[in-house]
């Protein structure tokens, strides 16, 4: 914690912000990829510290936001099966599927439990040999290694009542999808620091070169974020485009080989649907052959038709094509209390963040 305070230091943040102001001569759009970065930006008001000509676009890196409605509905259907205990991370509870959220299921008597670590799901399986424990394994490359470990443990211990509903997504294909879009408005990416801590950032060199776009590996504290923005702006102003690491205390170029080894053993790459965006080739994980026995989709072969709200334009928001308040449903049919799409659910979701600020009086917005 003491160590963390250095990266929250007001004076250091101030001096980096000043340097950004001095370097900026034009308008730039920078996308922070990860939802955790969006959270910090909103939490600390980082967007208020940088020049108005720099627009921060909230990227698709919020795992609950991009989990397809079909998968949430599948989790729903599985949780309703007799004797099932569905284990999920907390922020997934309120995300709406086409038949409501998982927290709604709890009120109907389904056994949905919030876990902090996937290893808790293994323990629940050990403690309840007569129940079927399903781990809802969502998230990016960050949560995947821990979920993979839980699956490995289940296999070693022959936990027959344990299975996983895998909906892991991978960051580089999403960045490529956005960068390659002809309507792309993003001038530079702040890559997700914690994802890179696992994967490293070798894969980004090709993207930076191919799409002539700066990619800066960035952390999550105010000083980290400002430093990431500063390096991105310097590249943009000089017309450069390469991969830089502004999060060296955590990220090594090659990443974490141990975690990568576990991922390679347990998962294999597959095409994945991203909510509101569509299918991205080779953008997710599914269980590898050796672990297929633990696939909840195989254990619970259920069929239904999901219905996505057609008015929700979360996909355009996540791609940076639309500001949340430009959506017709914003603040009317869609509010944090009754969200139509995932970005309105969690506080750091782009739509929820906009909604909160829209409540401030114009006078106050002007005064900042």
């Amino acid at each position: 914690m003491k160590h963390l305070q250095e990266y929250r230091d007001g004076d250091i943040a101030d001096s980096i912000a000043r340097s950004i102001h001095e370097s900026t001569t034009r308008s730039w759009s920078i996308m922070e990829v990860c939802g955790g970065q969006t959270h910090s930006i909103m939490r600390y008001g980082i967007d208020q510290l940088i020049p108005k000509s720099i627009q921060l676009i909230h990227g698709p890196g919020c795992p609950v936001c991009v989990t397809p409605i079909e998968t949430i509905d599948r989790a729903h259907a599985i949780a309703q099966q007799p004797k099932v205990i569905l284990c999920t991370y907390g922020d997934m509870l309120r995300v709406p599927g086409s038949r409501g959220s998982l927290s709604g299921l709890k009120t109907q008597g389904c056994d949905v439990r919030t876990i902090y670590s996937p290893l808790q799901a293994c323990q629940i399986a050990r403690d309840n040999p007569n129940r079927s424990v399903v781990l809802f394994a969502i998230g990016f490359e960050t949560t995947a290694p821990a979920n993979a470990m839980a699956i490995k443990i289940a296999k070693t211990e022959k936990l027959k009542n344990f299975s996983v509903l895998v909906s892991h997504v991978l960051v580089p294909p999403a960045i490529e999808m956005i960068a390659s879009d002809p309507t792309c408005r993003v001038d530079a990416f702040l890559a997700a620091g914690h994802v890179c801590a696992v994967t490293g950032y070798e894969a980004y060199h090709r993207l930076a070169e191919t799409y002539r776009i700066p990619i800066v590996v960035t952390g999550f504290e105010p000083v980290d974020l400002l430093e990431g923005i500063r390096l991105a702006v310097l590249q943009l102003e000089k017309g450069q485009a390469f991969v830089e690491n502004a999060y060296q205390r955590t990220v090594a170029a090659e990443g974490n080989p141990t975690a990568q080894g576990v991922l390679k053993e347990v998962f294999q790459v597959t095409d994945r649907e991203w909510r509101g965006i569509g299918t991205i080739l080779s953008s997710g994980y599914t269980l590898s052959e050796a672990f297929r026995d633990f696939d909840a989709e195989v254990r619970f072969p259920l069929e239904w038709k999901p219905v996505e709200c057609t008015n929700c334009r979360a996909g355009d928001v996540l791609r940076g094509l639309l500001k949340p308040n430009q959506c017709a449903e914003f603040g009317k049919g869609c509010t944090p209390d009754s969200p139509l799409g995932a970005p309105m659910v969690s506080h750091e979701g782009a739509c929820a963040a906009y909604y909160q600020f829209s409540q401030l009086s114009p006078k106050m917005n002007a005064s900042r």
Partner: protein, 388 residues
Amino acid sequence: MNENPETASTPDTKSNLDTKSAPDTANTPDTANTPDTARTAGLSSWQCAILFSENERVSMTHGGGGKLSQRLVDEIFFPAMENSILHRKLDAALLDCPNGTIAMTTDSYVVTPRFFPGGNIAKLSVYGTINDLAVSGATPIAISAAWILEEGLLLSELKQLAEEMGAAAREVGVAVVTGDTKVVDRGRGDGCYITTTGIGIVPPGRNIGLNRICAGDAILMSGTIGDHGMAIMAARGGLPISTAIVSDCAPLHELIASLVRAGIRIHAMRDPTRGGISSALNELANAVRLGFVIEESCVPIAPLVRSACEMLGIDPWTVANEGKFLLFVPMAESERALKVLQNHPLGQSAAIVGRVVQDHPGIVVGKTPYGTQRVVVMPTGDSLPRIC
């Protein structure tokens, strides 16, 4: 619910147990602290001679209104709550009231685990209700306690909880003057729930209330935030971490009385329990249609709580407190109020955290150490840990 004293020594066929009445010990005050055995005439005397054994549990019979019900009263509740009003064993406690306005509050306690670092459900049920009275400007007079017990609860644990309640009530100088007990089938409760109701008196001339909050008021926090909620979370064992965080569970009436004695012009107070200060501040700002501005770096948070919240992705502003309050006073009195708070053991880490403004009515704004601002939102429900 109504019983006559004479039913005490005869089987009661009613399905509930009412602890409001009990064997008449008013004439034998010397036995008040011990289970009355030899003096009880008739066939029941030999039964009462046996104190419950270590492994004895609450059974449905304890709620049947008969002898076992009486034993709960005699051996557990009465000795623990000992006071003269309770011993009058009337259907309703009769209390002499000084002049003023009566304040009344009620709260139910369902916390698990029942014992946690820094407190337990029984203690909490006294302090929580005392605090609701105290922040309303009332001097607590008496409380009632209704216990809902699940069949199977160990009597030894019930006794311990009753003693904790009695001790907490004595500590705050308020008697538990009436009560009730029900037993529910195993599986239909969670061991033990307690509902306490408290009444207090707001002396004439004391004018404390939300309507007095006005632009220009200072907002003070009486101490660190988030201790109780994080202690409970850790004690539930659901966390992959172990911590030494202790609940802040404490009665606030003395601390508040010290402000009154010092002549501080208190405009309003609120104890930010469930939902933490985010919830309490939003509720108040919305009620008074004024804006609040909070200097984030001024809000006191214990390092352990901060670390635990950080690790779990939980916002400490949304975490429950059980021994803290928000205080609204005129800005000119804020420094003096702060000194009074800090001079009391429960207010040592108090701080001036913000102010009330005319702008952005109903909205709480947090000022960051970077000179930026954010909207402090009303938490939607339970604090949910984030994964990204």
